[in-house]
Symmetry: C2
Subunit: 755 residues, 2 copies
């Protein structure tokens, strides 16, 4: 229909007839969708009354999908509950009028209501429910139609055909059919009577009704919403119950159904049978929770977008393990990796380094495939980042060999040793963090680098690379596993399928200990937003300042400002704001800086104070917090070093800030006061980098204030554990009645060699 806002019609390709979708990512293509709403979804309220907000947001999502050009159908429950509500209300109203005539305030509130009969409730509820659906869908310019069905409507061939053609006609007219069982004439079915095989399914609840209907109408997708998250491998609430992401028909025996299912009529077993029946009929099925307030507002659209919500039923079992299984395998093998000798981890890295040279041809050939696929689809800078060469591989191999050497002393290093008491010794030692998830874009050379870092630090690793480099990543990962296998820990590093959504990975908070995004600051920001409960190592912003003091040397100021801004303007450690001491305005040093910036074609934006000093000012900045990431910068005037520090604290991102001055005392004050990860005097901001700092390999740059800050080397991938060795010591021994005393003597440890 005519009225739609901001939702272009999705191009939906026809689905191969009779085949359900193999992957969640294909659900985007679903054209005809049946949404089944369990009565818990329609009528169970949270605090009081019915779940109106929930119903409205479900209508909202169905409307969005309908207005994308899909054909939506709703199978609804809840008429009985609605009827109860309505009849109570009517009775109360009629009573209240009578009572109000001869009673005071508040008596209404305590009035009791008669017990209501279910069939009458169904009749009364049906119209109320439909009125509500209609009122809601009208707001989206969508018409609805009411269809009441009974079991017989599917068994009688004539009735079945009538139903079928009516529904098709409605869909053709862009009308959303709302289907319910005719509870007023048909009694609620007997629970626990089995479904009759796969070819016939008896309609005894809305699960079987919706499955029957979806197959009859050749729907692409059936979304069954109730108050359970989906299918669990054991009864929910038991110690090891896990939500199943994808369920395959063959897996049925691996499921233990709880005896007391909360889902009532039909229960989970019946839901699964109905889902499998629909699947065999060619309709994909997702069972999900429609009552969880955290997801209700987008559960249906999320499912259609292919996100991991509830349980997806698929006929096609993929060859590899799921990402959850990969994580488990990685953690397990990672523990073995961590228990190897440092030399053994070094051997693995050296072996990987050798393989990069030996298997050069295979790698470059895989890379050429990616390049060919990318040509014309990606921009030239992205293609450059994608491409490998013999030279790149050689320098990679050299870097890895260096890392192998320097990593000897990372895991198991003793940081501290204390004699707590006689024969009670405490050690704090370095251990790996656990399972890392590294998400990287484009550059496939990231893969062996990051893998070597994980190996050196004894961490398990999940790698999620970009689709554009999938062939190159595959061979590089294969070589990494080959190297790992020399010590039997091939599984410690896993390549995650390109089909997995980054957002879903960021939710695996019990399985992944640290996420490291390697790529643009947009990537980092997105991941920081998506990560729920998992720490993210990275910085999303670099608003770096260079402050040129009144006592700066002309040459140093020019050199440092030029290098900070122009060496690589897209880097996070490039200067964004130049702070100039007021006394320098209209002096040679100021003019020379401006000339240099003009020569280098840097576009200048004026801060408010700077603008006020100029007659013809450059454009004034919109915000003093802008990260230009290009040959652009802001210039602002400050009164003093202290004023510069205040400006940096107010507008900076605590990444890297620089002072240029010949006055050592001013420099030291600045270095002491500025509260950023890196603070420099008379040196370019571009030095803020793991390699330039001499940390060996760089894990990333962090602007977080805890754990690791600034450029992060191998140490950022380590944590510590406390090991205490006693001889049956108890704390009671140290109480007033006990016979022991704490000594707390520091025992010297070898000087820490931080790499």
């Amino acid at each position: 229909m005519g009225w739609r806002r901001g939702s272009p019609w999705t191009v939906l390709l026809p689905r191969p007839h009779g085949k359900s979708f193999a992957h969640r990512s294909e659900l985007k293509q679903a054209k005809r969708i049946v949404v089944k709403l369990g009565s818990a979804v329609v009528t169970r309220g949270d605090e009081c009354g019915l779940a109106l907000g929930r119903l409205a947001s479900i209508v909202e999502q169905v409307a969005v999908l309908q207005n994308q050009g899909r054909e939506m159908m709703i199978v609804t429950s809840g008429a009985v509950a609605f009827g109860k509500q309505r009849l109570r209300h009517e009775i109360l109203l009629s009573q209240s009028v009578r009572q109000a005539l001869h009673s005071g305030q508040n008596q209404l509130k305590d009035m009791s209501v008669p017990v209501l009969e279910a069939r009458a409730c169904a009749a009364a509820g049906q119209s109320g429910l439909m009125a509500l659906y209609e009122a809601m869908f009208t707001q989206y310019s969508i018409c609805t139609a009411q269809i009441l069905v009974t079991n017989l409507d599917f068994h009688d061939e004539q009735k079945r055909r009538n139903l079928n053609s009516t529904l098709h006609e409605l869909l053709r007219m862009n009308i959303v059919p709302i289907i319910n069982t005719n509870d007023a004439v048909v009694p609620p079915p007997v629970p626990n009577s089995d479904l009759q095989g796969v070819n016939v399914i008896s309609i005894k609840d809305n699960d079987s009704l919706s499955a029957r209907l979806a197959v009859e109408m050749k729907a692409d997708l059936l979304i069954a919403l109730s108050d359970v998250q989906g299918l669990y491998d054991s009864p929910p609430g038991t110690d090891d119950a896990k939500l199943i992401d994808i369920f395959y028909p063959g897996d049925q025996q691996s499921i233990t159904f709880g005896t007391k299912s909360r889902v009532g009529l039909g229960g989970m077993e019946a839901k699964v049978k109905a889902a499998l029946w629909a699947l065999q009929g060619g309709t994909s099925v997702v069972i999900a929770n429609g009552t969880d307030p955290k997801v209700t507002g987008h559960v249906i659209t999320d499912i259609v977008e292919g996100k991991k919500v509830g349980t997806f039923f698929s006929e096609v079992k993929p060859a590899g393990p799921t990402v959850e299984q990969q994580t488990e395998m990685a953690r397990h093998a990672g523990r073995t990796l961590a228990s190897l000798l440092p030399e053994q981890r070094g051997e693995i890295i050296c072996s990987l380094s050798e393989l990069l040279t030996e298997k050069k041809d295979e790698i470059l050939s895989a890379n050429r495939k990616d390049m060919e696929l990318a040509t014309g689809r990606l921009s030239q800078p992205l293609i450059n980042r994608l491409s490998l060469s013999t030279a790149k591989l050689n320098s990679l191999a050299i870097g890895l060999r260096q890392l192998a050497v320097s990593s000897g002393n990372s895991v198991g290093r003793v940081l501290r040793r204390t004699r707590v008491a006689n024969n009670l010794e405490l050690e704090q030692i370095t251990v790996p963090i656990g399972v890392l998830l590294v998400i990287f874009e484009s550059r496939p050379d990231c893969l062996p680098q990051v893998s070597a870092l994980a190996i050196a630090s004894g961490n398990a690793l999940l790698l999620k690379g970009g689709k554009e480099a999938s062939n190159t990543n595959k061979i590089l990962h294969h070589l990494t596993q080959e190297a790992l296998s020399i010590h039997g820990v091939a599984d410690a590093i896993q390549l995650v399928s390109t089909r997995e959504e980054v957002e879903d990975l960021c939710k695996l908070d019990k399985m992944i200990d640290l996420i490291i995004p390697r790529g643009s600051s947009e990537l980092v920001r997105d991941i920081q937003r998506a990560a729920k409960g998992i720490p993210v190592l990275g910085h999303s912003e670099g608003v770096c300042h260079v402050y040129v003091d009144s006592e700066a040397s002309i040459d140093k100021a020019i050199d440092v400002v030029k290098d900070s801004k122009c060496d690589y303007p897209a880097a996070c450690n490039a200067m964004e704001t130049l702070l100039i001491h007021r006394d320098l305005l209209r002096t040679p040093i100021f003019d020379q800086i401006i000339d240099m910036l003009r020569t280098e074609q840097v576009k200048i934006h004026a801060g408010p104070r700077f603008a006020s000093y100029l007659t013809f000012s450059p454009s004034e900045v919109k915000s003093l917090r802008t990260e230009y990431g290009d040959l652009e910068c802001c210039i602002e005037v400050v009164d003093s070093m202290q004023d510069a520090v205040d400006h940096i604290h107010k507008y900076g991102s605590s990444h890297t800030d620089v002072i240029v001055t010949e006055n050592e005392e001013t420099a030291e004050q600045f270095l002491q006061q500025v509260d950023s990860a890196c603070v420099f005097s008379n040196a370019s901001s571009r030095f803020a980098d793991g390699y330039r700092f001499g940390l060996g390999a760089e894990v990333g740059i962090s602007t977080a204030r805890i754990h690791a800050r600034g450029p992060v080397g191998l140490d950022g991938l380590l944590t510590t554990k406390w090991v205490l060795r006693g001889e049956g010591h108890t704390v009671a021994d140290f109480s007033e009645q006990g016979n022991m005393k704490y000594l707390h003597e520091n025992i010297p440890v070898p000087q820490g060699n931080f790499n």
Copy 2:
């Protein structure tokens, strides 16, 4: 009315006539509430169509409050927009029937609609909007009544009185009046004509209508929802614009209104005038966003619960600064604290220690006040925790003096020094984290301890103590500031008002760097859940294991198990699960352990394997992950040390795990393999504690895997920064064309003295 679920009637005390509420926390008492819905709330859709889900959840909240016994009124907008919608729909329907007779599919979708006249839309929309409200409220057994008003209804005395008595009658009948301007007969008002003083307010938009109505009806609270977050001190979007939490009439001149307000008719300035008018009439006002999907579902109930949502208008300006101002003051003074000499920080701590002894009487007298107030209201254990004594103060003072001595080397310690190149030297030094928020319950002795830790580490500190200790906390905080003032940094430690909600504090993510909860594991869990984007240092669970190996010594096993479980069962480092090697079953060591547990009255729960070995088994555990925190534990049987490790990895919380064995190789394997913060051999789990580890003061115990792990001392309150000193160095100097080379020579640093 009769039907309500789980919402007991709130007891609402009468409000002193004509006075608005002084604090948000008093809003819970609001009985008569006007909710004003701007047209953006009622009709502006997100993806397509109208904002139905939003409207429904607003109805839901109004219904909840109504069913708590409050008297709710709604002032609604949106009739015109609704009418547009409805008329379009009707026109399309009538066209579509005709077209369907002689056209193919999809043509409907491209049909255009005529331009509609606003007044007609209003008439058509009014009934649709009311029908929707009625359908929605009916679901909560709540009746609604429609009231259309015009400007004249308030000016004509007779009409005004009629309106007043009608509304009162409706409220008395427990009916929710829904009020709108009669747009069909009255033209939309002229914008930008001023409100007429404070005694008269002309009704020209729904802001002024709702203000007029709220005062007329002596409402306690007016909630004005639109699509802005509230009132900002500068136009939203500018660099420093801050949402004002509480606005006082006198503050009006401190606000800069943007020239281009997005809120259209009336704009923000008019909203504020209307709010101030209502306030002066005795009605409290909150302006908030009703369109933000993150809060829509609970914006109204949150406001009534006193949470920090939008801008609260109050006549009573509190004496002290807001918590945001306190945080700013703390950060500022904290930077000075960090720049002091270590000896100066030590002096402050010593001075605090002395004050605790000197001002003993004042402290104990304040403590007695708290105790008296608590008697009968708190349980005896809580009262014990609340009470201070001379002995407690003395031992506190001694602890503080020790900390003053040991803290000398915390801030500014050089961890690493590198000669990057000639005359380019890099240092990594320890610096404070920034602003800490410590939330503690009951025990007021926590305050000086935590304060001393913050002073020693140079951090700014916000303290949030429990209401039950407010008098004691006040005097202790006063003494802390007295001690800080000897070096001019009194503001570095702030005591947050007991009125502030913990949940609101946990949202100050740009202002607070680390949250440390000190108290029950429930407190920690709640805070971990509430903290958005701020790291939390703490552990919420301690499921600790003791594994008794087949080669364990009888005596050590008995001692370690007894101490681990019985020394202090409520502690997080107490044993929850005892793992026994299979070979020990029915041996003397096993029998003696069981006897000891029986003697100590420890209730035993059997793990599934243990239960299978027994004929008369104790109750089987519900979950192997239970933290009993009492004289209860689970016993489970394992086949080997490796099996014990696997059990611990599967069911443990990575806090503290212990092996008892005489076989050193088995012990070392266990210590190496178990991936917990603390792993012990032949020593009680109760040693996992900062004091027993010899860390001096304990900040807490962390089961996080990054930053700090296990018992955390002062080091956990420090981070690092990188300081680079050059002579105009640029990275270009080191390029292939440059004339410099990286040296990366480690320069020895004094052996790190970890405290």
